[in-house]
């Protein structure tokens, strides 16, 4: 569903991403671990076609994201580290707007149901987003992904800064998306969440994917050791 082939991004002499090869299938949650500047967000931005690759190719559903920008975007939903919505609009109005942009049309009741399913407290559905916490905004993002019926989910450190409860709720929502066959690529610092939620884990260091494995194959302790080993290298 989601594939990187020798994907490389250079900024002058600096190589942000170096020959990345990875594949995320339907129902997979691929967690990219790594320190700041390891190339996780660059990978996500390349799949979103927010930046052009220097070499290689990123495909979604076998379509090159640079050539089929519109088509590939219709397949995905994106939740950044800090999902920003329009503060003067309510959660429901934001959801309605972004769904409309993606060509999806829902009734008010359907939108309310989507927001409730994503865990947003009913009291806040019609309140302006300016009063939302980060976790509540991330939930609107999940509702948007569900509303768009995305088959690919690109997440850039989505649980960063969330409290444990909100983080746990978010993981549960991801797992429910997984059950629906959504392919998820998630950049994260959170080893515990990666082991707990992910089906596959990759460790990145200085723009290189130095390790990838199925999360079931390692214990949390081994994962931590492996991660620290690469970070010290």
């Amino acid at each position: 569903m989601l594939q990187a082939k020798n994907l490389t991004k250079k900024y002058g002499n600096f190589t942000a991403l170096n020959g990345l090869n990875l594949s995320v299938e339907a129902g997979d949650i691929f967690c990219l671990l790594g320190a700041n500047g390891a190339g996780k967000s660059t990978t996500i931005n390349l799949f979103l076609n927010f930046i052009d690759p220097s070499e290689g190719q990123a495909t979604i559903g076998s379509l090159d994201v640079t050539e089929y920008t519109k088509e590939t975007k219709q397949l995905l939903s994106y939740i950044p580290e800090n999902l920003m919505l329009y503060p003067n609009l309510s959660g429901l109005e934001n959801l309605d707007f972004f769904c409309g942009l993606g060509g999806k049309s829902y009734t008010k009741e359907q939108l309310e149901a989507l927001l409730k399913q994503s865990g947003l407290q009913p009291d806040f559905i019609h309140q302006r987003v300016s009063s939302y916490s980060k976790g509540m905004r991330q939930k609107v993002g999940i509702a948007l992904a569900a509303a768009r019926e995305a088959s690919v989910l690109l997440l850039d450190e989505p649980t960063s800064g969330l409290d444990p409860k909100a983080s746990n709720e978010f993981s549960e929502l991801l797992l429910s998306m997984k059950e629906k066959g959504v392919a998820t690529l998630m950049a994260t610092h959170d080893l515990f969440r990666a082991k707990d939620t992910g089906t596959h884990i990759g460790i990145m260091n200085e723009g290189v994917l130095v390790e990838q494995f199925e999360s079931a194959d390692v214990s949390f302790q081994d994962l931590e050791k492996l991660y620290l080993k690469h970070m010290h290298n």
Binding site: L48, L101, G103
Partner: protein
Amino acid sequence: MRQLLFIARKEIKVALREKLVVSLGIVTLLLLGVALYAGYVSYQQQKEIITETQAEKRKEWLNQGDKHPHIAAHYGTFIFKPKTVLSLFDFGLDAYTGTSVYLEAHYQHGFMFRPAQDHTSMIRFGELSAALVLQVLAPLLIIFLAFGAFTRERESGTLKLLMSQGISFRLLTWGKIVAYSIMLAIVLLPIVVGIFILSFSGIRQEVIPDIAFRAVLLVLIYGVYLFLFISFSVWISLRSATGRNALLTLLTGWMFFAVLMPKTVTNFSESLYSLPSMREFKARIQEDKVNGLDGKTPRSVRRARLEKEYLEKYQVDSVEQLPFNFEGVSMQAGEEHGNKVYDHHLHKLREIFHQQNRLRSIASLFNPFLAVQHLSMALSGTDMYTFIHFEKAVEHYRRELVRKMNGDMAENSRYGEFYGYKAQRDLWQEIDDFAYQTPTAAELLQLYHLEILSLLMWTALVFVLLNYSNRKMKPLHG
């Protein structure tokens, strides 16, 4: 299209929930209302004064009693510049050109009652007219509305979310332009309706025959002008890294195009093509009237030549033997000489005006504000060319009046009986009351082809810039 309307609807919804935008919209609307109302009151007052005084002066002319026609020509009359309905929208040069003129034989008097004379130099920055609000203040509203069109999305992080939905920069840009255009149209709708009501209502329209056409053109021209400001503001926002940069760039641009450049161009054109003072102008005319345009044909020589010409033509020995009063012919010849001298100097003066105007027109190619300012005055009938057209009509009327008086004197009186002959009311009635119509909008616009070209060029430029930037732009640099 559906997505574009979605974006436009969201933009409007967000803007309407921002107090600053709503406040600015209300202030602009109020200013427009006040300006239009003030213009209407001023128009009504002046129209009443002009109508009443013109009628009074006509009555005085008809009831001046029996007198020698040349004395009647000196008794003269007043002509008042009729106010055009659209002048309540754009006062233009009315404050500088004067409202009335005294008509008399031998003399071309200057226009009187120029409001600019009674004001401080602040009037040079423009009176509060609806046109001024649209030309100068509406762009400010646009700037505050649109400077954050993209920078706010970029700074708040919503741009990435937007672009991840699969929409293009082109769609987003045009969605925003449509939204701002709709919002501005809503703010300006009352004034558009007001202009149309006034243009088509009972207010007399004989001065401007094609007023409906002009009103439509005004809406079109201001529509293009404001669209340009919206598009450029969105483009600057698209290209700017931060909202602060966008706002500073736009305000600097506004200051340059709407304030500094127009004043600089006016001052430059006046210093490059300087006009003689009124005293110099009149002195030169007087000198040439006395000594002839060649400087060596005084009145005595001209009169001797005329006398000789007529004596030879009618084969008589003295002017007393002519079948008409030679004094009348002589006076008309003197009048025509005076006209020739006046025309000569006025032509030179107007040539300077034309050179100044040409420079301003060329400058308008580089500044759409100047282009719309010139076109607005022209369509409102308050520009220099309409004034010159009116001035010509007045002078033509004056000459006809004097010619008729002198002709009557030549035909009906005898040589030497200067004060003996007296014409009566029937002669005064032969002089029609002064009536004036402005040139048509089509005629005027031919004189403003550079301004029209300017608006077309700037529109093309903004399309090219938007198209180029929309193709090249990425949500993130790199």
